[in-house]
């Protein structure tokens, strides 16, 4: 996702002179092409995220379209007040991009994990929260985000994730993408869990079921039409996210559900639990330990059928 982001960003900045890129001293060499083509619009803002967000808000107030970028917890939690006051209170079109979201940087330790960012940013008035599922969706959501007139948070994984879409999908923020039509279980996946979602529905198909898979790239605003369809037609609706069950995508769906009349489907939320992950290990290992693998997800879905 990271490389797709850098490449799409460069293409968009070439075409739109309002685009300014602010990096929190990361992405060594990744943005060389951007720097070469738009040298006056690349700012390394140092390891000073609060300032970076304020600077971006100041730029946006003058008509520019800044994008702030660094590792997820540092561009979300670290500078949450600047996002709230400088960006959201002024309703400015700043795009916040977090890289290494969820457990992507598992091996770096919990300082670099981000399983709470959706919860924090989703609560901010006017903020759009987008979690693309693969590198194709990254390109599509970045294009769409630049057309928004308010703040957007884009939650990226790392590099080298499986590519699910064949091409860049035609995408509208707030409208989920149906990846596979089905009739019994409906799997709603957000962000970098999409490849696992594909695995899960493939296994279910092999077992004779007819599951539906939806890439729910926008967590806020929720695609209520897709949710109405899912909860009225299916027996079980599953939410997948590499984020805490507190305040994340599944929580947003549960909030929506609580406000509806009784629905046909039962909700099953898959995500991380209320704890830091203290062990060393890569993302795959952390997912295994936290129940985010295909097998454990299938097990959980079967258990509630």
């Amino acid at each position: 996702m990271r490389n797709a982001f850098a490449s799409e960003l460069t293409a968009l900045a070439k075409a739109d002179s309002r685009v300014v890129f602010c990096s929190g001293d990361i992405g060594n060499r990744l943005f060389d092409s951007f720097k070469e083509s738009c040298p006056d619009r690349f700012y390394n803002c140092g390891v000073a995220e609060a300032n970076m967000v304020g600077v971006a808000a100041g730029m946006a107030s003058c008509g520019l379209r800044p994008i702030v970028y660094t590792i997820t917890p540092f561009v979300t939690t670290r500078c949450l007040e600047q996002i709230r006051v400088d960006i959201c209170y002024h309703n400015l079109p700043v795009i916040i991009v977090g890289v290494g979201s969820g457990l992507s940087y598992a091996s770096l330790g919990a300082t670099h994990h981000s399983c709470e960012d959706i919860a924090f940013l989703r609560a901010l008035p006017g903020m759009t929260v987008v979690c693309p599922g693969d590198s194709m969706e990254v390109r599509a959501v970045l294009r769409a985000a630049l057309k928004q007139n308010g703040p957007v948070y884009i939650r990226l994984g790392k590099k080298g994730e499986p590519v699910i879409h064949k091409d860049v999908p035609s995408l509208t923020l707030g409208q989920a993408i149906v990846m596979r039509e089905g009739s019994d279980v409906c799997v709603l996946s957000t962000g970098n869990m999409l490849p696992i979602g594909v695995e899960v529905v493939d296994k279910m198909v092999q077992a004779g079921a007819n599951p539906q898979l939806v890439s729910f790239h926008t967590v806020k605003p929720l695609d209520e039409k897709a949710l109405r369809d899912a909860f009225s037609r299916f027996r079980t609706v599953v939410t997948l996210e590499e984020h805490s069950l507190i305040g994340g995508f599944g929580a947003a769906v549960a909030e929506w559900l609580a406000d509806q009349p009784p629905q046909k489907a039962r909700l099953c939320r898959i995500g991380t639990h209320d704890q830091f992950f203290h062990e060393a290990g890569e993302q795959e290992y952390a997912r295994e330990r936290l129940g985010l693998t295909c097998e454990s997800i299938l097990h959980k879905i079967l258990a509630i059928q």
């Binding site: 600077v55 808000a57 100041g58 730029m59 107030s61 400088d86």
Partner: protein, 273 residues
Amino acid sequence: MNVDFVELDHVARGIRGKLVEMSHAAGTPHLGSSLSCVDILVAAYWGVLRIDSQNPDDPERDRFILSKGHAATTLYATLAERGFFPRAVLDTFTKSGSVLAEHPGPRCVPGIEAATGSLGHGLSLGIGMALAARIQKRNYRVIVVMSDGECNEGSVWEAAQFAPAQKLDQLAVVIDYNKWQATGRSNEIMSLDPLRQKWEAFGWNSFDVDGHDRKALIEILQRTSDGSGKPLAIVAHTTKGKGISFMEDDNNWHYRIPNAEEVLKAKRELKLI
């Protein structure tokens, strides 16, 4: 810019009187902080800023950010006096449904460049605006006014490191250094001094100035965009509660609200009645 300093004295006394009235009528605190920075705003708005109250969104306008948002009444009274909105709007201050809250909201009235109230935000916003000028090839300047207590915030020092690295000489910060913060002497709470030298060491062109000497303030603020490649830091030595003898340097007036008798006494001292 031709400046009539006798007229400015009159304007400043009028604004001070208005602040006392607003604090009394609304029952709002921070009067000492508001009085402290009156001369800085008068110097900026009448002697430095290239602004047109009839065209407040002109992309070429100079930008002014009151980062110490708790002195909002000073900004409101200044903008009204400078013609950005009718003076009568000041009488709605803090009333239910009014556009004028205790801290300024985004574009709550024409001339407000940034919503402030949480300290340590204005300088970064100002840097963003100054960089936007560079990117968009505009010539406007940016002035940010902070309080000394505000310099407790770490984000101020992030911004203080960033602006010189970007060689932003079209940016000026003025620190309203009245030596008090909400509940105590600034230097007893956090080690601020030597404040000018701190900004100097961070790479700013730094000056100490009497923050009530409007002529001196204007002269120094005119050094903004001097081609030096260094942003300007002005440590304006001020007196909290300035202009009203029984409020001067008395930190009780951070929170105290003047009664009717004190309002009259203040206005007499200001030669407004």
